[in-house]
């Protein structure tokens, strides 16, 4: 094949290059993430006005919505890494796929938890089978399936390839699952849930939300790079450059 990929793409496939560049970016990304999350949380908790229908409990939105965004985006990142791994057999893509799963699953748990806690003061119950809660729960199952499948293989390359196929299948399925759950819910929608229909948000309420969403996306990227770097060390433990890092960091006695 005579397609010329930019040099960047080739380098991205090299674990060593990823480790080095990731290490250069990571402190800056971590700092910016902390700043955004801190500003967004303080703004949302203490400065945004309260919602006239839901009172202060709506402030949960500043965690719930970004977490739900990342949960879904995280699955697509995983599927994309899987596709790259299957097509170009790139080592780093395998590692990204492995490392994206726990982060995405954790964010799904956070979205579910915050949704449940939000539900208590709003609807008077911890769990409602509404379209969003239900599809989030299914997303968690998809993550858990990937996790279980990965861990049942002994060879990491095989585990990554198999999970790549499953992640792609899941990606095709997610919109279908979401649509069908949505349809199912409109069929059974109890009248009491009508409060959740978004009361039009005032600018002072959605501005902190934008900050939090940006912060969570950056957080995701930071956590992912951090994880991938450590995993790269494990995979490349027999290479010279990893040994040099170990020699520098640890104290090898003569």
């Amino acid at each position: 094949m005579a397609i010329k990929w930019p040099l960047f793409f080739h380098k991205l496939g090299s674990p060593r290059w990823f480790y080095r560049i990731g290490g250069m970016w990571l402190p800056w990304m971590a700092a910016l993430t902390s700043l955004l999350l801190l500003v967004g949380a303080v703004w949302g908790l203490a400065f945004a006005p309260e919602d006239f229908k839901q009172g202060n409990s709506y402030r949960i939105i500043y965690v719930h919505v970004p977490a739900a965004f990342i949960a879904l985006a995280g699955y697509y990142v995983m599927a994309l890494a899987g596709a790259v791994s299957l097509i170009w057999k790139m080592k780093v893509a395998d590692i990204v796929l492995k490392c994206a799963a726990p982060i995405g699953a954790a964010m799904t748990v956070l979205a579910l938890f915050s949704g449940a806690v939000w539900g208590k003061p709003t609807w008077g119950t911890w769990w409602v089978w509404d379209a969003r809660n239900t599809s989030m729960l299914v997303l968690l199952f998809l993550y858990l399936g990937i996790y279980a499948l990965y861990n049942s293989f002994e060879r990491e390359e095989q585990a990554a390839k198999v999970c790549a196929v499953l992640a792609l299948v899941g990606t095709v399925n997610i919109p279908i699952i979401y649509k069908s759950v949505d349809w199912w819910f409109t069929l059974h929608q109890p009248a009491t849930l009508k409060i959740t229909q978004a009361s039009s948000m005032h600018a002072s309420m959605w501005q902190p939300l934008l900050v939090m969403i940006a912060g969570f996306y950056l957080l995701y990227a930071t956590l992912l790079i951090q994880r991938v770097r450590v995993e790269v060390l494990y995979r490349e433990r027999r290479t010279r450059w990893v040994r040099d890092i170990v020699l520098q960091a640890g104290s090898v006695r003569k």
């Binding site: 299914v138 199952f141 499948l149 499953l166 399925n173 069908s180």
Partner: protein, 232 residues
């Protein structure tokens, strides 16, 4: 070596796979009964667990029959490719000049013929045991007829992904059950609508669309999964 004119075409190879798998299934026809007995027992458990009240049972019957049928189909999913993988014939099949896509599709169709189809045919009995209203039987039959094809196709992806593992059982269920959700929603939705005397052709249309989609796309994923499990 066969000359190029002696290599069977895709159609012949697919028909051959169909014939072979059907013959194998016929020789082990006892296995076909097991999921049916399983479904019967599970349906018996429900009145025992929640009480024999006809109104309550009738209300949950459509969903219940669908879930039980789904679980019965899931039981045999794990072993779709297992035997052929272990005796090496699956590898030969994928190495053959005929496209693996159609051969895999044929295998899944046979699996449906010996699992999904019998369960579908028994489903009205299950509905009867749960005193399901009369309007639900036709949509139950039609929705299961198409729905179980999707279930076999999707289930085969799970079977293909785990074929190289010594123990697949629970793992396959874990992987496959979330993917079953849309099929079940529209399947039981049609039955519920039928029971309540509402039109259900919309749900069935979606179900057929899902089945076509699954039948076309799933073999791609299955062949991919099988090939990954082959290279050792």
């Amino acid at each position: 070596m066969l000359g190029p004119e002696q290599v069977p075409g895709s159609l012949e190879a697919t028909a051959g796979t169909l014939r072979r798998d059907l013959l194998l299934a016929y020789r082990r026809r006892g296995d076909i009964i097991n999921p049916l007995v399983f479904a019967l027992i599970v349906v018996t458990l429900f009145p025992l667990g929640i009480g024999p009240g006809e109104r309550l049972l009738a209300e949950i019957a459509p969903g219940l029959v669908w879930v039980v049928a789904l679980l019965a189909c899931l039981l045999s999913t794990d072993s779709i490719f297992r035997d052929d993988y272990l005796d090496g014939s699956l590898q030969q099949m994928l190495l053959s000049p005929q496209p693996g896509y159609f051969l895999v599709q044929a295998k899944v169709v046979v699996h449906w013929l010996v699992s999904g189809l019998p369960v579908t045919l028994m489903a009205p009995l299950l509905g009867l045991m749960l005193s399901m209203p009369g309007g639900g039987y036709l949509p139950l039959l039609v929705s299961l007829l198409f729905g179980t094809i999707s279930l076999s196709m999707i289930g085969a992806i799970g079977a293909g992904l785990t074929v190289g593992l010594k123990r697949g059982g629970v793992l396959v269920a874990l992987i496959v059950l979330p993917l079953y959700i849309p099929v079940m929603i529209f399947g039981s939705g049609a039955v519920v609508a039928g029971c309540e005397g509402r039109p259900y052709s919309g749900q069935l249309a979606v179900l057929v669309a899902l089945t076509v989609l699954a039948s076309v796309l799933a073999p791609l994923a299955i062949t991919g999964a099988l090939r990954i499990n082959m290279d050792d």
